[in-house]
């Protein structure tokens, strides 16, 4: 965005993003961090958001940080290496790339980039220092993976050739946006608050400086953290707690995405009656007879049980929706896909996010 604002019309016209990117309330955000309680569909939301952001000609990078290969599964491609690979075309000419960040590879890359010491990596590895940094030390792994994501956010075209020159600083960004499938809400504040995380181990020195630089991007208005919830009590509670925590450490909270929302099937009065156990099963039986189903009385009784359960659930969901909507951040809703998530459904969800102004 910054590159575009500074007059790289040529490049943005080529990709056709300039007109659209300034719309929507996420304007200016280039790093989207997606979190949520386990099981809420973070990975699906992150992938749909990337498609939504790329549609109309954008170039968006999806970053995975927990080694789950969730994007490979979603897009139906072989496991991703530590390399930015194209995973999907967005509607209107855009493209989505994905990267599975591997902490060890990121550490080697970091050592080489900052110290010109690839050999050093091998020695450190022999002494168990790499294992320590990537699996045991608090925060170092997080600095390495968030560092990789923020590097992609700041990366400009042809940066290698023109590093440090004025020309390089004006070159367009390689990615219009980066979307990160982040750890669950319970750990998100700690994960993103990298410099306080490494503070216990590195109070000074290059790691600390690196953490500070990563933090600068994460704290900037260019970064937004989106929380994914369901209309269920525990995920909702975790989202609210997570939002409070993120706000407290001064991070920019983006949207609250309520995922897997069911379409309403019954009117309010029917639901109320059903929840109170006063559903008119005779009306139901007559309808089933009209549908020419056999054993209409028996079926009516069975279906009534389902309606009562459904009504009780809708009541609980209504309460939770009201509770969530008290949050001052924009709330988006995504529908439940009962057949499971397919690549086609990602495009559908991306469309829903665009309609609601998230991209």
């Amino acid at each position: 965005m910054r590159g575009i604002e500074r007059g790289h019309d040529c490049d943005s016209r080529l990709r056709g993003v300039s007109a659209r990117e300034s719309e929507g309330d996420g304007a200016g955000v280039r790093l989207h961090v997606v979190t949520g309680k386990g099981g809420t569909g973070k990975t699906t939301v992150a992938a749909s958001l990337a498609l939504a952001l790329a549609s109309g000609g954008g170039r968006v990078l999806l970053v995975e940080v927990e080694g789950r290969q969730g994007f490979a599964q979603l897009f139906g491609c072989p496991p991703l290496p530590y390399e930015e690979r194209k995973v999907a075309d967005a509607p209107g000419g855009g493209e989505v790339l994905a990267l599975a960040v591997d902490a060890e590879a990121a550490l080697m890359e970091y050592l080489e980039l900052f110290y010109g010491m690839r050999r050093a990596g091998t020695i450190l590895s022999r002494f168990g220092a790499v294992d320590f940094a990537t699996t045991i030390a608090p925060g170092l792994r997080d600095v390495l993976v968030t560092g990789k994501a923020t590097e992609a956010v700041r990366r400009r075209a042809g940066a290698d050739r023109r590093r440090g020159t004025r020309e390089a600083a004006r070159a367009p960004f390689v990615y219009d946006a980066v979307v990160m499938d982040a750890p669950p809400t319970g750990r998100i504040a700690q994960f993103l608050n990298v410099n306080s995380e490494v503070a216990g181990l590195a109070r000074v020195g290059p790691i600390r400086n690196h953490a500070d630089k990563v933090m600068e991007t994460i704290r900037s208005p260019e970064t937004a953290v989106h929380c994914v919830s369901l209309l269920e009590e525990m995920p909702a509670q975790e989202s609210l707690d997570g939002i409070a925590e993120l706000t407290e450490i001064g991070l920019n909270v983006g949207s609250l995405v309520v995922n897997m929302v069911r379409e309403p099937l019954f009117d309010a009065r029917t639901l109320e009656a059903a929840a109170a156990g006063e559903l008119d099963t005779e009306v139901l039986t007559r309808g089933l007879k009209a549908a020419m189903l056999d054993q209409p009385e028996e079926r009516s009784r069975q279906l009534a049980t389902e309606i009562v359960e459904h009504a009780r659930r809708v009541q609980a969901e209504t309460k939770i929706r009201r509770w969530l909507s008290a949050v001052e951040h924009p709330m988006r809703e995504l529908p439940l896909t009962s057949d499971g998530i397919t690549v086609e459904s990602l495009y559908e969800l991306a469309g829903r996010l665009r309609e609601q102004g998230m991209a």
């Binding site: 020695i123 450190l124 045991i136 750890p183 109070r203 009590e233 019954f266 029917t270 549908a291 389902e306």
Partner: protein, 400 residues
């Protein structure tokens, strides 16, 4: 209603949870699985069920969710087992109730206690005040998993309970529970710490050979020299107290291989959680750890199993055209949706069974509302206990 059960191709063996809990030879139950599948709630429900069937149970949870404590009638949970007030008469099981205790693991407190128990007061004070130790005991990854195992060992040794149920930490991967403690043990006894803590120009240097200088220089350049000083003081004090830490970690690990331990893998009926469950099952096999069975949580089953999605949708369309029966049309659409979800969940479960045909499975139906009291936990316990017959009969377990 005793409807014949829906046709299934791959039937897993039934996971008889009650038999497992009733068996006095079962002393430890470990609940594992990926995040968000309902591990903690399952652990609490198993604890309650076992207690009401006469066992003396303690549940160790790592989830700070206040609501879970409240659902057991406790204000908060801390590092000491607290008694849960059980109603009389074993919740209608007709057995005389045992006892239920619950605690929440505080990893730093547990680590501190180990240090205090092993070191003389002066050395303990030194260790506890060391910044590197503070970092290690409160934020190193693996410490929580390791301390969960330590706590398990302590509770077993105390002999105060005849059944311990452990809920595992929410880590990146379910496998972390098994791997993290060893990794931490390896680190604490490993080459890196020895190199970092070796005073310059001693014999240790010559032994390890070239590269040491490079390593210490590099590390002090990257993280700062002060850390090295702290590491040195820490290692000196810690080694004097614990000697071989790795062996300690392995001893604790072996506890999990004992025949009186049972692993329960908890999953949700979605591809990710079931894939994670499959990894875990394979790993337990490789490490000779006793797997009791899999709990598939929050499944959706419909009572009207013989009315398929297609039939239901066709009927809904037919009545909708007439325009006279909106209730029936909506009911049929609701059913179609449920039948679709059910078919998908069964497909996923069959995939697990195809890969691991001998692994017993029990399903726990989804609930309309979250659990917030003992009654809710008891219902989940009942679903676990009566599981097999319940979903096979396909009667009242509708929800969702």
């Amino acid at each position: 209603m005793t409807a014949p059960h829906p046709p299934r191709s791959a039937e897993p063996p039934e996971f008889d949870v009650d038999a497992l809990l009733d068996d006095p030879e079962t002393r430890t139950v470990v609940c594992c699985g990926s995040g968000g599948v309902g591990k903690t709630t399952s652990a609490a429900a198993l604890g309650l069920r076992a207690a009401e069937r006469g066992r003396e149970v303690v549940v160790i949870t790592v989830d700070p969710a206040r609501r879970l404590a409240q659902s057991m009638g406790l204000h908060t949970l801390d590092n000491t087992p607290r008694p849960v007030d059980l109603p009389q008469a074993g919740g209608g099981t007709g057995r005389s109730p045992g006892a239920l205790y619950a605690m929440m693991l505080d990893m730093k407190r547990t680590f501190d206690e180990i240090v205090e128990a092993h070191a003389d007061p002066e050395r303990a004070r030194q260790i506890l005040a060391n910044p590197f130790y503070q970092s290690l005991s409160s934020s190193f990854s693996g410490t929580q998993e390791y301390m969960a195992m330590e706590k398990l060992g302590q509770l077993r040794q105390s002999g105060d309970w005849d059944l311990i149920i452990v809920d595992t930490p929410p880590s990146r991967s379910a496998l972390d529970f098994l791997d993290a403690p060893k990794r931490l043990g390896r680190f604490l006894d490993g080459r890196l710490l020895k190199v970092l803590s070796a005073p310059a120009k001693t014999g240790a240097f010559r032994l390890i050979g070239a590269g040491v200088g490079v390593v210490t220089n590099l590390i002090s350049k990257i993280v700062g020299a002060q850390l090295l000083t702290e590491v040195r003081t820490f290692v000196t004090a810690f080694d004097a107290v614990f000697g071989d830490f790795q062996e300690r970690a392995e001893r604790t690990y072996r506890l999990l291989q004992a025949p009186d331990t049972a692993f329960i893998v908890v999953a949700a009926p979605d591809p990710d959680a079931l894939r994670e469950a499959a990894f875990f099952i394979e790993r337990l096999g490789t490490d000779h750890m006793p797997l009791a069975g899999v709990v598939v949580n929050r499944t959706h089953r419909t009572a009207t199993w013989d009315l398929s999605t297609e039939q239901s949708l066709a009927a809904a369309n037919a009545v909708e055209e007439s325009g006279d029966h909106p209730l029936a049309a909506a009911a049929l659409r609701l059913h179609a949706e449920r039948a679709r979800v059910q078919a998908r969940e069964i497909r996923l479960r069959e995939r697990l069974t195809a890969a691991h045909p001998a692994v017993p499975i029990v399903e726990v139906p989804a609930r309309a509302e979250d659990v917030n009291n003992l009654e809710g936990l008891r219902e989940i316990g009942e679903a676990l206990g009566n599981g097999g017959s319940r979903w096979r009969g396909g009667d009242s377990d509708v929800s969702g």
